[in-house]
Symmetry: C2
Subunit: 155 residues, 2 copies
């Protein structure tokens, strides 16, 4: 039996093949072969959020995508709703979620299921980045932002 | 805006309704409203593995299920294959995965994608439990165990 530390030493693993892949955590919430990208192209509704995609954009076949989002100090995601569900698992730091009319404190290991069409937003008021996995259906609708007004006080 | 710490204070959240749910991490990899169950009914092919299901068995609608598995010292999951994919994210301790002909060391934050039909097994040789999220399609085939023989030396 061959022993390797990283299945993705095979460059085919990075070029869109549906083969097993290993994304090693290098520490400090950085991963081998995974690049942080912008949360969204459009500005204005969010601040200080990055996005990493582990599964879903490089040839994998599951009916779900696994991503890691990180929110910097004083950052927040868009207040929005959509038909598709979120499952969030906190990996780093602490933050808040608005879900419908509720506001939750989130810390390591907490798991949140956001049901279809529920208005939601994530934010970080601490120094340390607030990082969480966010799992969604592969086939999903586009988010609809909520106009800030009465809601802006909830952040 | 109402502030609550736990969406599942609403008992409807536990009775199979497709509403938002919050599973608070109580520490030591135990969660509010989540019970550990047996990994599999059948004995023999595995040892010391427990299973917790966050999403998929209580009325949620996504096309995926989110579970947490924990393997005790010297425990191991079944050496098996199936058509459906796994995405594994390590939350606790350290362990090993056999994936095809490879053997990987896994620790906190590592992410592993197991492609369709790849033979795989997880094991723990340390004192601390080895715990990981395992995300799968909601609609999936049954695992096929691999008879131990030549492979048994790989554990």
């Amino acid at each position: 039996m061959k022993l390797v530390e990283d299945l993705t030493n095979d460059p085919a693993g990075l070029s869109g093949a549906n083969i097993s892949k290993f994304f090693q955590h290098l520490g400090n919430f950085d991963w081998n072969h995974i690049k942080a990208t912008r949360y969204k192209d459009e500005e204005g509704s969010w601040k200080g959020v990055s996005r990493r995609v582990f599964t879903g954009e490089t040839g994998e076949s599951p009916q779900f995508h696994v991503r890691y989002f990180e929110i910097d100090k004083d950052g927040y995601s868009t207040l929005e709703h959509h038909q598709h569900e979120h499952v969030v698992v906190v990996m780093r730091g602490q933050g808040h979620a608005i879900v419908g009319e509720r506001r939750l404190e989130l810390k390591f290991g907490d798991v949140l299921y956001v049901a279809p069409n529920e208005i939601h937003q994530f934010s970080n008021g601490k120094e340390e980045p607030f990082g969480f996995l966010c799992i969604v259906n592969a086939d999903r609708d586009r988010p609809v932002p909520v106009e800030l007004g009465a809601e802006s006080s909830c952040r």
